[in-house]
Structures are given as C-alpha cells and as structure tokens.
C-alpha cells in the first residue's frame, strides 16, 4: 500500500482546501420574492379574518328590510338581534336582503381560509399515509392505487356535491368533500417520491442497520418528501378555497345564511346587472387569496426544489 506516501501530501489534497458553503433551505425561502409577497398577502388576510369583529363590521347574518340593495359607501341602518336599529355605513353596499356585504366578505374570509387550510391538511394526511404505504409496501400497491384510480375517475366537483347531499352542508362536510378528491393526487405524488427515495443508498443503509420498516418510512423517507408536499399543499389550499366558493355558489355548499364568498356571490347573481358590487367584492377577495396562495406555492417550489439546493 502506497498510503504513507499519499498521506505525507494530505495537506495538498483538494479536499482539505475545499470549503463547502450552502445556503440553508429556509434562508433561500425567505429570500424569495414570491414567498415574501404571497406570504404577506396571506398574513394580511388572516389578520383581517381574525380581527373581523373590530373592523367596523356588524353581525354578517343581520338584515334590514330598509337597507336593501345599497350602493357601496351608502349610509343606512340595520336591526340587531336585540331589535335595536343602529346606523351603519355599508362600505361594500348591501344585498337584496339588506345584509352588509363588507361584514359578510370579512367573515367569509374566515370560512375560506379555514376550508382551504383544513382541506390541504386533510388531503395531505391521508395522501401521505396511502402514498407511503403504497410506495414502500409493494403488496399493498396494486389494491390501493386501483382505489385511487377509481376516485380519480369521478369528477371532483361531482364527488363533493354527492357527499354534501348525503351528509347535509356543514363546515366539516364541505371540508371532507373537497379533500377526498384531492387524496389520490397526493397519494400519487407521495408514491412516486417514495419509489425513488426507497432506492437511495441511505435507505438501503438503514435497512442493513436493522431499522424497522415503520421507522424507515417515517424517519428516512417522509422527511425527504416534505418539500414537494409543502408545495402541493399550497395548491390544494388554493383549490379548496375555490371549490368551496363554487359549491356555495351552486347552492350545494354551506347553508346560505353562513357568510362565505360563494354564498355572497350566489346571492348577488340574480341582480348582477344592477348591483355588480355583490359579486365584485367577494370575487376580488377570492381572486387575491387564491393568487397569493399560488404565488407562495410557486415560490416554495422554486426554492425547495432539490435541483436548486446546489452549492452557491
């Protein structure tokens, strides 16, 4: 062995001179403008939703026959549940029942964000479980994936309508109904990730170290799927918000008295020509929210993509 000779020059070897500097994934994420913009808009929306009672709103379910179809900014009055009539400025006008659109849109933000985030979490949770099982336990793969194919064969909106019709519209029903059609997509994503990660030498090394299968799945494979899942999660969130609005608009989502953007728009649909503000304001909120979530997702994808994680 000629090693002693080699070792005498060890200091000259490139390796000892090389300094590996990488920017952490989190650092890249924070530096991304897409993430900053999408994140701030979303943060603002969350703030609006949480602070809705203190932002000059009234109870969004209140109506007053005297204040129907008011233009944005018009003064009017509204009757509280106690029977008192109070003066109120209708910033975004009122609908044909005399409800304050501004209050309904702001409270609707709560519903939309809640639905979006819960759908994403629910779809991810089930998708990850099915995907891991299907990708790592090959005997389960055939059965699981055929079930997923079956779900994917039915149009998503149809499944949602059927489920809501079966269980009646409540927040939970709507969330589940929107999440179920998304599960196969997450499953497929996770499965494809698992199929490539399970071939990685570090997984094989874990097998030869005697690591139990469950631990391999959750400690070795899952953490390496997180980045694409985070991205997929934001897209599901955006989709969930949209589908909830669509369901409400079609009248198969949450009951019409619950303030959601879709319900407000559905209500305003009939008088759209005379009173476009009924649709305009919730529409703008919907569009901005979905755009913000998608921009955030794009930013995350660009920064967390493994191809981007190279040396600077």
């Amino acid at each position: 062995m000629n090693a002693p000779d080699a070792r005498q020059y060890e200091a000259l070897s490139i390796e000892s001179a090389a300094i590996v500097r990488t920017q952490s994934a989190w650092g890249r994420v924070r530096a991304s403008w897409s993430v900053r913009i999408g994140g701030s808009v979303l943060a603002l929306l969350v703030l609006l939703a949480l602070a809705a009672p203190w932002l000059g709103t009234v109870d969004p379910t209140l109506f007053d026959a005297g204040s129907r179809d008011l233009r944005p900014g018009a003064q009017g009055e509204i009757t509280t549940l106690e029977g008192e009539t109070v003066k109120h400025t209708f910033l975004m006008g009122s609908d044909s029942l005399g409800r304050d659109i501004y209050s309904r849109v702001l409270y609707g933000t709560r519903v939309s964000l809640l639905v979006g985030i819960s759908t994403a979490l629910l779809a991810l949770a089930f998708g990850i479980a099915c995907g891991l099982a299907s990708g790592y336990l090959r005997w389960l793969d055939g059965v699981l994936m055929r079930i997923m194919d079956g779900i994917m064969a039915i149009p998503a909106i149809l499944i949602a309508i059927a489920l809501v019709a079966m269980w009646r519209g409540s927040l939970l029903t709507v969330i589940v109904a929107i999440a179920i059609p998304e599960i196969p997509r997450v499953t497929r994503l996770v499965r494809s990730l698992v199929l490539s990660i399970r071939e990685e030498p570090y997984v094989e090394a874990a097998v030869s170290l005697g690591t139990p299968t469950v631990k391999i799945m959750f400690a070795h494979i899952l953490p390496n799927c997180i980045a694409p899942l985070l991205v997929q999660g934001t897209f599901i969130c955006a989709l969930g918000i949209l589908v909830e609005a669509i369901l409400s608009f079609l009248g198969v989502g949450l009951p019409p008295d619950i303030p959601t953007w879709g319900n407000v728009m559905a209500e305003g649909r009939i008088h759209f020509n005379e009173y476009p503000h009924n649709i305009f304001f919730p529409g703008v909120f919907l569009a901005v929210t979905v755009l913000a979530v998608n921009i955030l997702g794009d930013g995350l994808r660009d920064t967390l993509d493994p191809k981007m994680a190279k040396r600077v």
Binding site: M1, N2, D5, R7, Y9, I14, A17, A18, P201, L209
Partner: protein, 537 residues
C-alpha cells in the same frame, strides 16, 4: 500564423460570489499543437471542464471570462459573438462528452443527428451527405453503418454511442477536438477501444486533442503533453514522460503517488483463519414483465461460490452488469437471492424471514459508492451513526460515546456529529459512512465501489483507512470494484465476474500475475497505463 490548434493565454474565469474561491481558473496558459494530444488533469473542482466550456463558448452566464485570451487557429475567440462561434463549432472545433446517452438526442436517429451538422455547415446534397456519414461511421469502426444510421441512441451500447459522438464531432474535420472525460462512463475494455480510436483518428486527421481526464492511467496511454490543474491554477505543464516520471510540483507528485499500482501487494493471508461468510451456488434472477408484457429473465448472478475469511479481503472485480453488486446486495439481503446458500458463520441466511434476519443484520455492513446519496440529508451525522446501535437496544449515551470514538478512528472531528451531511465533502462523507457501518461492530464489511466516486488523492486516503481498520479490528472485507489497480492494492483473494458468473477466483497474486481465463486477460490488457509504474514513487 502559429502552428497551434489552440492557444490559451492567462485565461481567468470568475466564479459567482459566495463560491469557495473567487476564480474558476486563474491565469491559465497552455497550447495544443496540430496533431497533438494534450491532457488536462485535475481533481474535481479544479476547473478543467470550465476551460473546455470556455473554449467552446458554452460557459454559463454566471462564469464570465475576466481576463486572458483563447486563440483557435490564431483567431481570438475569447469574445467572439455567438454567430461566429456557431460557425466555428464542428468546423474548427468539436467536443465530446462524458455521457454519450445524454449528449445524443434520444428521439432522433443517429444518422439524422450527424446529418444535422452537415446540413447546417455545408451545401452538400442529400446523397453526398449520406455518403460522408457512412464513410465517417466506417472510420469510427462501427459495424454495419447503414443500420447504425437508422438506429436510435438507446438501441446502441455505451461504446457505440460514444463512437457516434466521435463521428459527429469529426465529420467536418475540425482542427481541435475537446474530449471531456469521454471514457469515464465506459467499462475498461470499451475505454481501451475508444482511446485507441481517438488516437488513430487524431493521427490520420492531424487533429489537436484537448483531453480532459482525472485518470492518470488514461493520461499515460494517450497524452503527448500534460497540464495539471489544482484549484483553477496550472501547476505543471510539460511532456508526458517528464510530468509522469519526474513531476516538479508537489501536487503532481501527490497525485501520481496516489494512483494505486497494478502490481498486487505481497500479503500474508492466513489460510486457516475462520470463514466469516461463504456463498454456495448463489443465484439471482430478475423476472420482468407483468400481466400483459412478455416475461423476460435476467440472470444477474449465477452459481456464485465465494468465501471471506476473518482479517482478509476478498475482491470482486468486473465490468458494469457483471453481477458484482447483485452478489453484495444478496449477501446484505437488500434483495432476496433466487437460489443458493449464504452462510454467515455457518448459518444459512439466504432464506431467513425479515424478523429472523434482524438480529443478524449487524454482522454484515455495507458502504456504498455514492457518498452524496449514502447519508440521509435531513439527519445529522451523529443520528446516522447511532441509528444502528439504537435499533439494537443500546442506550443513547453509550451509542454516542461509541460514535465519538469511531469519529476519531476515521480521523474526523467529533464536532462533525452535530452537523448535516451537506457540510462535508465526498471523502469525509465516505468516512462517515464507514463509521456508521463500524458502529454496528460487524464481522464483515462490504465496500461496494466505495472509493470509485472519489478523487484519486482522497481515494488513496480512504483506501488506507479501510486497510488500517481491517487490520486493527480483524474484519473480513468484501471489496467490490471495477478498478483493477484498487483491487491489486487491497485484496487477498480476487474473484473476477463476467455476465453474472465468477470466471476466475484465487489469491490476488495468482490472478494478477498469471491470469488463466481469457476474460481476465482481456480485462488486464485493457487497464490504462499498465506500462507506467504508478504508486511507486
């Protein structure tokens, strides 16, 4: 008019801010004469590929040329506009790449891809072009040129694809051919053929060749002159004989000393040492195809019978697809063998179920080829090393203490335990992988091409480390490699595999000095740089 094909003067190329140095190359000067082969040698990160790209005008925007000039046939092309470079490429300079599969377009026939070059640069008619392509394919010694023209890249072997690349590069008879590690992805026997081909074509066409490689064996085979790069600086440039036999710079000396000699080491192997692992008639057949596809069988390993004794190293050598890794993976039971016995300390583990196998897993550990993929990027080095002991119920602090001792054994700082793998270089990661394997206190350590992805100087260090550990812990080692030089240095016994079968098996000295099987002989004949006594400085 100088008679150089290429002249590079004081070439300086900047690196983007935040890189490990400010310049990819610093004031590099060399030239390539007409009909001369100049080898550009260096370890990874030395800037050799960047130089090739700068000559071809293929540098990414992030790497601008900030100084010096590049002259191709006396024309300054350092800042030539893209249109000018486009007319020069293939006509005056051409390039071939390491991976011919990705360099060729998979959805175009090979003939059409060569034809594209001619359509762009000449006004010849279809018939003339076709004749020219056929002649060129004959010149690169491809059998049945007509069929080759009509083939898609995936239908050809790696060597054939590289021949197509060479045909495409030389069809317009350029004055300069840049070859960027063109044989690194090929097996030794194919490599020898391609090197011969490049040499003979270069002679008949009088082409100047800039040959980029990390392999001193290849340098010894092909070069007229050698340029050695280290961290973007040219440390030595001179005739081959001089650089290889009387290197002036310490770095060159170190590199050449690191190249393992192909002469086997004299080692006293104790023939009575207990057998740690033996295989008897091991077989692995991959079955392909499903409900609708036709079933196919690949015999990856057939009738493999081997023995590893305590304190000794058995090498399995062979080309890609010879089944050597399949055997290793069967022994670790990452895959299930189709037939045969795997005797671990006398107990057959080939058919054991997962639960029965678990207590035995600690006895056999494996180190993989790719240091960048062998460690989970999301777990610290410490977690990786103690994972195995924790699986076997050893307390966390005991395992951590063991990890600290192992880090010292593989000559790494114990602080490394709290860091993540991406903070380490390839050689350091391989040391970590060795420590992880040793944490299990195995009886058999399998090194599956464990030093193949490393630079030659790092490879020497890791080999020395493995030797030291084997001797100190009295380990049995199964060393799988395609590199005969490495095998010659570490193995007591050698098994040569070809097409899933062991064609020759015996003490390393016998196999290396008196090879019996014709495949073994072909393998040795193909080993580049046999004539040079490397590793003996």
């Amino acid at each position: 008019m100088s008679d150089n094909a290429l002249e590079v003067r004081d070439l300086t190329i900047a690196l983007p801010p935040g890189a490990d140095r400010t310049e990819a190359t610093s004031r590099v000067s060399f030239d390539v004469g007409r009909g001369e082969v100049v080898c550009l040698v260096g370890e990874s990160g030395s800037g050799k590929s960047v130089i090739a790209q700068s000559v071809m005008g293929l540098l990414p925007r992030a790497l601008p040329v900030t100084g010096g000039e590049i002259r191709l046939l006396d024309e300054d092309i350092t800042r030539a506009p893209p249109e000018r470079l486009r007319t020069l490429r293939c006509v005056r300079m051409s390039m071939i790449f390491q991976e011919p599969m990705t360099a060729l377009n998979p959805v175009q026939r090979c003939g059409d891809q060569i034809d594209e070059v001619l359509r762009f640069h000449t006004q010849e008619s279809h018939v003339e072009r076709r004749k020219r392509i056929l002649n060129m394919l004959k010149e690169v010694a491809l059998p049945d040129p007509e069929r080759m023209m009509a083939s898609y890249p995936h239908q050809l072997s790696g060597g054939q694809r590289q021949r197509i690349m060479i045909a495409m590069a030389l069809v317009l008879d350029p004055a300069l051919l840049i070859a960027d590690e063109p044989t690194t992805a090929l097996d030794v026997t194919t490599q020898a053929q391609i090197l011969n081909l490049i040499l003979s074509l270069q002679k008949t066409h009088g082409t100047g060749v800039l040959f980029i490689t990390h392999d001193f064996g290849v340098v010894a085979e092909i070069a007229h002159r050698v340029a050695v790069l280290r961290l973007g600086q040219l440390v030595e440039f001179g005739p081959k004989q001089e650089v290889l036999t009387r290197p002036a710079h310490d770095y060159t000396k170190m590199l050449i000393a690191s190249v393992p000699s192909i002469q086997p080491q004299a080692r006293g192997a104790d023939a009575a040492a207990p057998v740690v692992l033996a295989t008897r008639g091991l077989r692995k057949i991959y079955r392909d195809g499903g409900w609708f596809a036709r079933r196919r069988e690949v015999r990856a390993a057939e009738d493999v019978t081997l023995e590893v004794r305590r304190g000794q190293t058995l090498g399995i050598v062979g080309e890609s697809g010879s089944g050597k890794s399949t055997v290793a993976r069967c022994i670790v039971r990452l895959i299930d063998p189709s037939a045969g016995e795997i005797l671990l300390g006398g107990l057959d583990i080939s058919g054991l179920r997962a639960s029965a196998l678990r207590p035995l897993r600690s006895k056999v550990q494996i180190v993989f080829q790719d240091p960048y993929r062998s460690l989970n990027p999301r777990r610290t080095v410490g977690e990786a090393i103690i994972e195995g002991p924790l699986n076997y119920g050893i307390a966390r602090d005991v395992a951590l203490e063991r990890a600290r001792r192992l880090m010292a054994l593989v000559r790494m700082d114990a602080q490394a335990l709290d860091r993540y793998p991406h903070q380490f270089s390839g050689g350091q990661r391989q040391r970590i992988c060795i420590a992880r394997a040793l944490a299990m206190e195995p009886e058999l350590l399998i090194a599956d091409e464990a030093v193949s992805a490393l630079d030659v100087s790092v490879q020497a260090q890791v080999l020395a480390l493995l030797e030291e550990i084997r001797a100190r812990l009295d380990l049995a080692m199964l060393f799988i490699t395609h590199d005969l030089r490495v095998a010659a240095q570490v193995c007591d016994h050698v098994a040569v595999m070809s097409k899933g079968r062991v064609v020759e098996y015996g003490p390393a000295k016998d196999v290396f000095l008196r090879p019996q099987h014709e495949y073994t002989r072909a393998l040795f004949d193909a080993a580049p740089g046999r004539g040079f006594a490397f590793g003996s400085t």
